[in-house]
Symmetry: C2
DNA sequence: ATGCCTATACTCCATATTGGAGTAACCATA
DNA sequence: TATGGTTACTCCAATATGGAGTATAGGCAT
């Protein structure tokens, strides 16, 4: 019953701001609103809905289908104000969970098949999400998306998503091609030479001063 | 004292596999090993080190600087075996936390300055990380990286990272340009027309069948 | 009419995770 | 010699997680 809102609270509140939903619908449709930018457990959604309602930021109205009740929640004026206030606070930096990369790091102690399998999984995941993004694109083109009146905003997100996924897919493709030229996963002069060349060609500036002592990286992190 | 390993455990174990470290060094240097692909709190690292040591997957040796003790941990054979076994298990899908996008979604209830500020922050974050990636690149080119003998593997990660960051930075740039053509954040025919056009041009296939009922997206998520 | 599957709408809880505070020695510099 | 920063952690209360469990309704095939 704490009244400190978390990012998950704002995510749910933002979805309710789009239009009224029942908790179940929110859970089903959150993929279009925040799932891919702010993953949260199903049970967390139900919990947040109750908290937001208790705080008066959303309000529920009971509906019936036959005898089965469901509560449809809408955002209140207070809820909108809370969202507005949130926009004035500092934003948390982007972060990701990419377990596959950890496995790439230790790949040399495993088999080539395992490495290839991992990368193929990454590619498959990206392709699944691209397929979904394609459906979202189609919904907008057909004019049937729930957020049709806000295409100008949603387009920014779809743009981000598709480009990100294409970047990931392309990486997986490149990496599969590279690993397939390897006979085994042992370090070798040959592989390391290619690796160094790959790094040299990456389109990023190296620092002006050469690095003597391994410098401190930029700190960033912070949740909630 | 549970002996179920989490992904964070494997991340730490994988770092120890690179070379021996003291917990403090691991915390400082984890940015080069897993921070950006598997974020974990500082205290989590210390906790994992203790657990892994208790389980015999790493072993510590005490050193002294004057009276200040520090324990340097190395991976054991058991530890290596555990990592190998892990490579045979299914990999969790990619996911991200991108609070800024949630704010983009509700931007119309706030000010243009807030939206622009959010996107600029995203750009700045990407640029910070790119600067760091540039340093890593430089370390490899100079041949002084700790993982120099595994450039062939590390190159895959650096490649991923730099391309991802460039994608994010480019999106921020595009989006800033777009929002700067807006006088306000109100929905309008004009803005929505541009938005729809942007979506139309995104390089992703729309599904063969047009969508009647809003279809279920692919389920994916899973931690640990 | 019966059975079965799926949709709806949650609750519960053991564990995991987080951020922050606390402790303490060491070290450079003014 | 004071003091502020770095090194090197420990501890903990509060919060979050995901998975399992509960229960009813509606639809459809036989």
């Amino acid at each position: 019953m704490e009244d400190q809102l978390t990012t998950t609270s704002y995510a749910v509140l933002a979805q309710v701001a789009v239009r009224p939903w029942s908790p179940y619908e929110m859970v089903q449709q959150r993929v279009r609103y925040f799932r891919y930018v702010w993953p949260a457990a199903e049970s967390a959604i139900y919990r947040e809905v109750k908290r937001l309602a208790a705080m008066g930021l959303i309000e529920g109205e009971k509906e019936y289908t036959g005898k089965r009740a469901r509560t449809v929640y809408s955002i209140t004026e207070d809820g909108k104000q809370v969202l507005r206030d949130w926009l004035g606070t500092p934003v948390a930096p982007f972060s990701m969970q990419f377990e596959a990369m950890l496995r790439v790091f230790v790949a040399p102690i495993g088999t080539k098949d395992e490495l290839v399998g991992t990368i193929k999984q990454v590619r498959a995941d990206a392709q699944d999400m691209l397929r979904f993004a394609g459906e979202v694109k189609q919904e907008f083109l057909e004019g049937i998306a729930v957020t049709q009146d806000q295409v100008y905003i949603r387009a920014l997100a779809v743009d981000f998503f598709i480009n990100l996924l294409i970047t990931v897919e392309a990486w997986a493709e490149r990496t599969l091609a590279e690993t397939e030229t390897w006979d085994d996963l042992m370090p070798s002069q040959e592989k390391n030479k290619r690796g160094l060349e790959k790094i040299r060609q990456l389109p990023v500036d190296t620092p002006d001063e050469s690095i003597k002592d391994i410098s401190k990286p930029p700190k960033r992190q912070m949740r909630t």
